[in-house]
């Protein structure tokens, strides 16, 4: 009986150690990425909350922020190409937001000096919505918007 108890303890202890290792293995990279990932901004559900998470006020409308190769009508909401160019000097970052998605913020790009303030990617859209390009330049926020209609199943929407 004694050996059984020992064995049980051994296995139990081994499991716990493995569990701990796994937990440590999972936790470490998450902690590392959490620092560079603005959780508050990505979980915000309104424009105001998002701006608060960025630590900025109401962004100014700007004609110097433009959408490039972005469609007016997207046939498939799962893959909508969006490109943003800023001609504001000292552009530090560009963010893409979709107004009617569960969380507005799609992505934010930091633009170091020497990199052109123009990026393009593909986003998901739940439904037709305004898409915002938020640009931080010289500590101030600027925004431009564009409406993209999403056709669902090709039957209009």
């Amino acid at each position: 009986m004694g050996t059984t108890r020992r064995e049980v303890l051994k296995t139990g202890g081994g499991m716990t150690l493995l569990g701990l290792l796994a937990a440590a293995g999972w936790l470490k990279p998450e902690e590392a990425t959490a620092q560079a990932w603005n959780k508050g901004a990505f979980e915000a559900k309104t424009m105001d909350e998002t701006m608060k998470a960025f630590g900025g006020g109401t962004p100014a409308q700007s004609k110097d922020v433009t959408f490039v190769s972005t469609p007016d009508i997207a046939e498939n909401g799962a893959v909508v190409p969006v490109g943003v160019t800023s001609s504001i000097p000292k552009t530090e970052s560009i963010a893409i937001l979709v107004e009617k998605n569960p969380n507005l913020l799609v992505a934010s790009f930091d633009i170091p000096p020497g990199t052109d303030p123009t990026i393009s990617t593909r986003v998901k859209m739940g439904q037709s919505s305004n898409v915002y390009a938020l640009v931080k330049a010289d500590g101030k926020y600027y925004v431009a918007s564009k409406e993209i209609k999403v056709t669902l199943g090709g039957c209009g929407g």
Binding site: K28, A32, A78, N103, P112, T121, R122, K124
Partner: protein, 103 residues
């Protein structure tokens, strides 16, 4: 391990245009499976690009980036034959780095 990224880097005028196609599910955490259970979110959170050890772009992504993400950007200062490295890290801590030669 995730599939390798497809990276193209070409000198266009005075800057280098980089196009990246990554291979990732980008699960939003909003969808439900056939049994009605929510499929947990699984998406790329951080992307960075370096050239000669200097960061030329860093990005934070949410789950609303489309599946198998595409990214294009331009930077100055690279010559033909230089290497550009792209790294992504997802919310499970998995990461992948690939590099391409500027052509």
């Amino acid at each position: 391990m995730a599939d390798p990224m497809k990276i193209r880097a070409n000198v266009v005028g005075d800057s280098t245009e980089v196009k990246v196609l990554m291979s990732h599910e980008m699960e939003t955490g909003q969808r439900k499976d056939a049994a009605g259970k929510t499929i947990p979110a699984w998406f790329i959170q951080n992307v960075s690009a370096t050239h000669n050890g200097k960061t030329v772009l860093s990005a934070q992504w949410g789950p609303a980036i489309a599946k198998n993400p595409f990214l294009a950007f331009k930077f100055k200062g690279a010559a033909k034959g230089d290497k550009v490295q792209i790294t992504w890290v997802d919310n499970k801590g998995e990461k992948r780095t690939d590099e391409a030669v500027v052509g």
